[in-house]
């Protein structure tokens, strides 16, 4: 009974919520639009945090979805750990596209903080000042991190992925990803001047 329960739990944990949509898109590519609408903002977010340029982020988002549509027949959902969901697969494509874009541009992108600050407008002036200050600090903090640490934090806090999913995107174990995120947080803490108690490795 215990084993049966355990098996059932495994199926629940690793079931891809997009399975029916993926199967529909395989049968008829026009059904891919549902997956696109669901994930376009997430992919765009990741691209924007990485490239820090709205037009470049749009171009990359377009590349990712066009690639995903043409390569959908190659996507295979895996039920067993480490597992693979459509979202993880999509972000793996996105991460590769970011790397390719970096290689093409051959420079680390500047961080136009103004972009984020302009966007974060609100009618409440006091709340806006607080939000802008938080946004300023957070934007700069993650911008200074090495690529993999930054990507892990963006996937965790912006995309709200689980550590396991992030590990699949980054090609790391869940435990290694958890430690990676923790070290990234320690680095952010040091930048904020609040991390003197944190190890520097």
């Amino acid at each position: 009974m215990l084993r049966r329960g355990k098996d059932r739990a495994s199926v629940l944990v690793y079931f891809d919520v997009d399975r029916s949509a993926v199967e529909a898109a395989r049968r008829d590519p026009r059904a891919f639009e549902a997956l696109y609408r669901k994930y376009v903002a997430q992919v765009y977010n990741f691209a924007l945090y990485e490239l820090r340029n709205p037009h470049a982020a749009e171009d990359l988002t377009a590349q990712v979805f066009l690639r995903a549509l043409s390569g959908l027949s190659g996507f295979r959902e895996q039920r067993e750990p480490p597992g693979s969901s459509f979202r993880v697969w999509l972000f793996q494509i996105c991460r590769n596209a970011v790397s390719n874009e970096r290689r093409r541009v051959r420079r680390h992108p500047v961080a136009p903080l103004e972009l984020a600050l302009e966007i974060a407008s609100t009618d409440d002036v006091q709340a806006a000042a607080v939000e802008r200050d938080q946004l300023d600090q957070a934007w700069q903090a993650i911008g200074r991190l090495p690529e993999e640490r930054r990507q892990a934090l963006v996937l965790r806090f912006v995309e709200e992925m689980s550590t396991r999913e992030i590990g699949e995107v980054l090609g790391r174990s869940e435990g290694a990803t958890r430690v990676l995120i923790h070290r990234a947080l320690q680095a952010v803490a040091r930048q904020l001047g609040r991390g003197s108690d944190a190890p520097r490795n």
Partner: protein, 135 residues
């Protein structure tokens, strides 16, 4: 027994999960405040987590771009399904040039972090962007 780093990472991970799940609506065990384990005293990590949880917004691409890409995908899908959609792709640069010339549509990028968190629909956000564009 787990190495100290792993233990601290697990606690930080659980704290992030709690924040993301509850968005501070309910009390959460705070590393450094309430836990006297390996994270006790690491208030810097806790502050970093709180800053990133609150300070990193979600962005939405312009709705013009979203629609443009939907059209491109539809054409590619139609071509894959045996139709003739592939020959009509419009470069995004053309769309951008025309909207920037138009002026009002040039910056419709929208911060919808709060909107996503509170379950606003894309349609609602689109209406908001449309109204901002008209002001």
């Amino acid at each position: 027994m787990l190495p100290e780093t792993d233990d601290a990472a697990i606690q930080a991970d659980a704290y992030i999960d709690a924040l993301l799940a509850g968005h501070l609506r309910s009390p959460v065990a705070v590393p450094g405040d309430a836990i006297s384990g390996p994270l006790g005293g690491q208030s810097g990590v806790r502050d970093a987590i709180r800053l990133l949880e609150k300070g990193l917004p979600r962005f939405h691409p312009s709705f013009l771009f979203e629609q443009w890409l939907a059209d491109q995908l539809r054409r590619q899908a139609e071509a894959a399904a045996g139709g003739d959609g592939a020959g009509r792709i419009v470069p995004i640069a053309v769309i951008r040039a025309s909207t920037e010339a138009n002026g009002r549509l040039a910056d419709r990028r929208l911060l919808v972090g709060g909107a996503i968190a509170s379950g606003f629909s894309i349609a609602g956000a689109a209406m908001f962007a449309w109204r901002r564009g008209r002001n």
